[in-house]
Amino acid sequence: MSCLEVRNLLKSFPSPDGGASLVVEVEKFSLRPEAQCAMKGESGSGKTTFLHLLAGILKPDEGEVILDGLEVTQLSESERDRLRATSIGYVFQSFNLLQGFTSLENIQLAMTFSGRSNLASHLRSDKTWAKQLLDRVGLSDRLDYYPRQLSVGQQQRVALARALANRPKLVLADEPTGNLDPQNAAKALSLLADLCRENGSSLLLVSHEDKVIDAFDRQLSWEEVNRSSGATEV
């Protein structure tokens, strides 16, 4: 059984000439549990839109996204919010940490919306787990640091830890090393892959950089997945 299945997914946006521009057209795509896959694509080719469709951030014009047996496209907005909180970890190019919160709080906040923090018994383990995650990414001495007090590489490591906070089924990484120097980029990729493996999460990473894609065994071309007839199975 696949962790993620995509069928006949279409998404277009209005174009300046008044027509519609088809950005995503994926006939079939699937990802097995705990699989790790890097997908290369040019900037502006629709990779981010594809990830947004998978995460339920955007609704497709047509088609299905099935995550862990749940038909994402049939869920209401609040159900999709909930699904993102519990089953999807998202890593951004620009980290997207909340500036008013410390490293530890950024991770705890991510746990809040999954509903786990509603139970006091879970709360203790949540905080412990958040600390463990920061320890795992080498930031146990930066728990109370605000993002502005961290280096760029450290910020991305907090973002990686946050993506894994709810032990998601699927981690989506959108150009996760785009703002990092080569050394930090290599570290971050290795860490991301290890964290996903340790937590049993599937990973789908998109990037336009060859060296990022080359860090993964399973590599795909977005152009092959998008607008091609046939199935892509990872």
């Binding site: 946006f13 950005v23 900037s43 502006g44 080719s45 629709g46 990779k47 981010t48 839109t49 947004h52 995460a55 951030i57 955007l58 907005e77 609040s78 919010d81 909930r82 993102r84 909180a85 519990t86 998202y90 951004f92 190019q93 620009s94 997207n96 940490l97 909340l98 500036q99 008013g100 919160f101 705890q108 906040l109 991510a110 746990m111 809040t112 919306f113 999954s114 923090s117 509603n118 006091a120 709360l123 949540d126 946050r162 959108d174 150009e175 336009h208």
Partner: protein, 406 residues
């Protein structure tokens, strides 16, 4: 702090405001000023009126020369303004002996010592009269009440402190109600007693025997047989009868009765001032609401991305909306608390000014209005100001604000 969704919402709201501390401060400060002005406008006048009525020294009426009742009350009981004229000693004796008049004390004014008014009266005012129910004047230990005919003075607590007068101090009175050092009388008075504080205008007066004023060196000899006013305590329906005798049928004197009604008319005259202050307060409140709105709009524009991140982490539209509403609510709460502080500050200054000018003590400024009406109104203003930005947060597109399309 991550125990419940509500706490997280307030935490997000609080941290958001902290990030925009200056704008948030300005918004809360403006609300504070508006609220402080509102409360002051409504309450200080009300409290002052109460305090004035309670400070009328235990008298029901004032009889004086033909003229304004208010001037009589202000001059006779509050030792403010000038006397409208004089009554003869016979007029005093007539009312003193009228049935229904419980007490009648003549007073004479016209001199001061360094701006503090000298009031001539009978020593019995300090032995027999109750300035408040059950309360006679008390002379501080080591002092005594002046003797009739002697050049002796009994000094009110506030005046004694301000002038540094103690028992045994000597002074020359000055002519007129305002201090002019060229108008010194040759008479030399000695302080024989200091009054315990009463919180009434009596505290800022230097009391001397009535004959002292009447016969002060340099005064018109005609003044020796006249009084400025007569302070009256009445029994039963005497007020109606005297009102009829002096105000309706007679034309020799004016009776200011009842004192509370005269004072009410005085405060009514101040209503234009109250209206202007109210208008100012409304304008400030309106500006405060606009500032909250503008602050939250600015915060919203800069926070769209942060809200999108929250949404991406699984926060619902409602959570984000409530964060914005909570911010406006927090600003309003700070504004409301600030209002009470501003009200306290304005009230303190006003009470001090009123005390220095009139001797009337406003003992406390109640905030009952705040509990029943003011706080909900301020919170409502805050919430209303936050509605549009909250709606903007509710409607904002998650995908558009999260990251650019690639």
């Amino acid at each position: 702090m991550f125990e419940s969704r509500i706490m997280v919402i307030f935490l997000l709201a609080w941290r958001g405001l902290r990030q925009y501390a200056f704008s948030s401060f300005v918004a809360a400060f403006t609300i504070s000023m508006a609220g402080g002005l509102f409360l002051s406008t409504w309450k200080i006048k009300e409290e002052a009126q109460k305090a004035f009525v309670n400070s009328s020294g235990g008298f029901d009426a004032v009889l004086g020369a033909r003229g304004s009742k208010l001037q009589l009350v202000l001059n006779g009981l509050f030792h403010l303004e000038a006397s409208p004229g004089n009554l003869t000693w016979e007029q005093y004796e007539l009312i003193r002996d009228t049935r229904g008049v419980k007490e009648a004390y003549p007073i004479a004014v016209g001199d001061n010592y360094r701006g503090f008014r000298l009031v001539g009266t009978l020593p019995t005012l300090f032995t027999e009269h109750q300035w408040k129910q059950g309360r006679n004047y008390e002379v501080r230990q080591g002092g005594r009440i002046f003797t009739d005919n002697a050049k002796e003075a009994l000094v009110g607590d506030f005046a004694a402190r301000k002038l540094g007068l103690t028992v045994g101090s000597q002074f020359h009175p000055y002519h007129g109600l305002d201090f002019d050092e060229t108008k010194r009388h040759e008479d030399l008075y000695v302080v024989v007693g200091l009054l315990e504080p009463t919180g009434t205008p009596a505290d800022k007066v230097i009391w001397i025997p009535i004959k002292g004023i009447q016969q002060m060196e340099g005064h018109d000899p005609a003044a020796a047989q006249s009084v400025s006013a007569v302070l009256l305590s009445l029994r039963g329906a005497a007020g109606f009868q005297l009102d009829m005798r002096y105000n309706k049928r007679g034309n020799q004197a004016t009776l200011a009765w009842p004192v509370a009604a005269t004072l009410a008319s005085f405060f009514e005259r101040l209503s234009w001032f109250e209206e202007i202050l109210s208008l100012v307060a409304f304008l400030v409140a309106f500006i405060g609401a606009l500032i909250i709105f503008a602050t939250l709009r600015t915060v919203m524009n800069e926070k769209k991305r942060e809200f999108a991140i929250l949404r991406c982490l699984g926060a619902s539209r409602m959570v984000v909306t409530f964060v914005v509403l909570s911010q406006s609510l927090l600003l309003a709460v700070f504004g409301a608390l600030g209002s009470l502080l501003a009200y306290g500050g304005i009230g303190f200054l006003a009470a001090r000014l009123i005390r220095e000018q009139t001797g009337v003590v406003i003992e406390h400024l109640s905030i009952d209005l705040a509990y029943h009406f003011f706080l909900p109104v301020v919170l409502a203003i805050g919430l209303v100001s936050g509605l549009a930005p909250a709606l903007q947060a509710y409607r904002s597109s998650l995908s558009d604000n999260l990251s650019p399309r690639s």
